[in-house]
Symmetry: C2
Subunit: 343 residues, 2 copies
């Protein structure tokens, strides 16, 4: 690979001059010299060596992004996959690249620590945060640049961008209410889940605002699995008809799929006997029978907002306090799983 010296030789100038021209540093290099340098660059096909440039400026132009912990093959990480793609795009627009890594040794912190200490990355983007996320705590402690997709402990002050799960689920529940539903149930994740909590709040909020009651047995909690959806519906349908919900809001499409499958087994027609709202807009959601009404997160927007904040921190540009956190509402996608309430 040609170096800056080769360009200097070819153009008959010093390497400093070449560097000035390439980085268009003021130094007011004469027009002729500039032309000459560019000609030489073109001729020998020179591109500055990133490693050398990085060493000199003690940076790496790399952003670390951890793969969600070892996915079992059955796991659905479609949302994060798309987020990652958009993140890679945003990073490149800002002159960075994404370095992906895994938590091989099982210890996330060790992985982050190693990347920091070896100067491998200039910052991190983290996702799938938990309330007292060890990574967030560690990175705050180290005062190392990072931005997260997802909130954590509300008492911690760090930069994040997140989907407004509360607003999203509330929008879904409001749609159900508009369709005349009154007996609406919710399938949520276990209490510990942070994003699950926000989503569940949307249900309570929308119901309260509409003056509808939320009996304790209308809230089903479980892990994020198809089985959870099945279990919930089975429980509700074993109640006397009058006590059953006519609509169900869920925290994920995967759970909604369980509801659909169990409904089919029992001869319940979704969209007529029972209305259903998912969350995530999984690629398959449109192919389900019936197509699932759901909420889609604006992942491209989220990724670019995350990256904008991160590059500012890395570049020591100030970010206004009110811009440190950002909540974006998801988009309601109306399909056929929601119908008018049975009379």
């Amino acid at each position: 690979m040609p170096t800056i010296k080769d360009v200097a030789k070819e153009a008959g100038v010093s390497i400093a001059t070449v560097s000035y021209v390439l980085n268009n540093k003021s130094a007011a290099i004469s027009e002729e010299t500039q032309q000459e340098v560019w000609r030489a660059v073109e001729k020998i096909g020179y591109r500055p060596n990133v490693t050398a440039r990085n060493l000199r400026s003690s940076q790496s132009r790399l952003i670390g992004y951890a793969w969600h912990e070892a996915p079992r093959y059955g796991d659905l990480n479609v949302v994060l996959e798309h987020f990652t793609y958009f993140l890679a795009q945003a990073a490149e627009s800002a002159g960075f690249h994404l370095l992906t890594f895994t938590y091989r040794c099982g210890d996330p912190i060790a992985a982050y620590d190693e990347l920091i200490r070896t100067g491998r990355v200039d910052g991190f983007v983290i996702a799938s945060t938990t309330t007292n996320d060890a990574r967030v705590r560690y990175l705050m402690e180290q005062d190392f640049p990072f931005v997260s997709f997802g909130r954590a402990n509300p008492e911690w002050d760090f930069m994040w961008v997140d989907t407004d799960g509360t607003a999203g689920v509330a929008a879904g529940v409001n749609l159900l209410i508009q369709h005349g539903h009154r007996r609406i149930a919710m399938i949520a994740w276990d209490e510990e889940s942070l994003s699950g909590g926000y989503r569940a709040n949307g249900y309570f909020q929308a119901m309260r605002e509409a003056g509808l009651s939320t009996p304790a047995n209308f809230i089903w909690r479980g892990e994020n699995s198809e089985q959870t959806g099945r279990d919930a519906l089975a429980y509700w349908w074993d109640l006397p008809p009058k006590e059953r919900p006519t609509a169900i809001s869920t925290v994920s499409d995967l759970i909604a799929i369980g509801v659909i499958n169990e409904a089919e087994r029992r001869g319940i027609v979704i969209g007529r006997d029972l209305s259903l709202v998912g969350y995530d807009n999984l690629p398959l959601s449109q192919y389900l029978h019936p197509a699932l009404t759901t909420l889609e997160q604006p992942l491209e927007k989220i990724a670019s907002e995350v990256l904008w904040r991160l590059t500012n921190v890395i570049g020591k540009q100030p970010v206004k306090p009110e811009q440190r956190q950002l909540l974006i509402a998801p988009h309601l996608i109306t399909r056929s799983s929601v119908g008018d309430a049975p009379v």
Copy 2:
């Protein structure tokens, strides 16, 4: 961040000595000195700076991996997502990291070229190859280290690892034959598709070996979509009953899902009236109704085989000619979408 100089100062030795100890170069450093150096390293928490090391050794310890071209949200890239994860793991085990990039400007070659010329990466892994893949051609031309997951033009000699789609589909078709099916149809991709061609071959091969006929109208071709599956089944079911297939083999789960949906619409019971085999083992396949018999690619194995080859090329270790290419058979997963042929 502490540098090698700090360690040298702390240990009371020269930086050369520290470097020797850290890279355990022969130079026979006395046991005492070694201890002392390690103590100093521990004490100040030193980790060698990757950029400096890379500059010195003119490498980057980074492997470039392009994100599949801009995914529409509906696209199912689960297979590649898992492959990428395993690839990241394999890379780390070999002391590399994955640098992911996108083809923003629309021109893949420009993206590869830039990463090569700036010394950003030591090699590439490419996936989703096509017959006359421009990336393969370009990287061969440049003689830059790369290994692909997927074959290309059979006349080109480059390193690849691929799933044996022919063997996979043949295994599925053989299962159908064992269940007594004789009238077996195939849904394939358009003729241009490379991997689709290999998979379709598996159908023809298994049928021929079993002495079964493959009438032209038993081969349906279309894009990789749910609709293709629907269209195919609709066509076959509009034939007189005697002329319909009793089983269908497909090149993808997505297409199989279309078949399932159309079957349901028509009251056809999959696993009884019609047997079905997918390909990919999408996460949702197990939740489909009925659960889909399908073929799973050994992605972890493929990733580690790809990486082993790539690190050898990068490290200028010889790879035996017979090891340059590797074909691995997928794994047949038997679920309830395959049943005995109707009598």
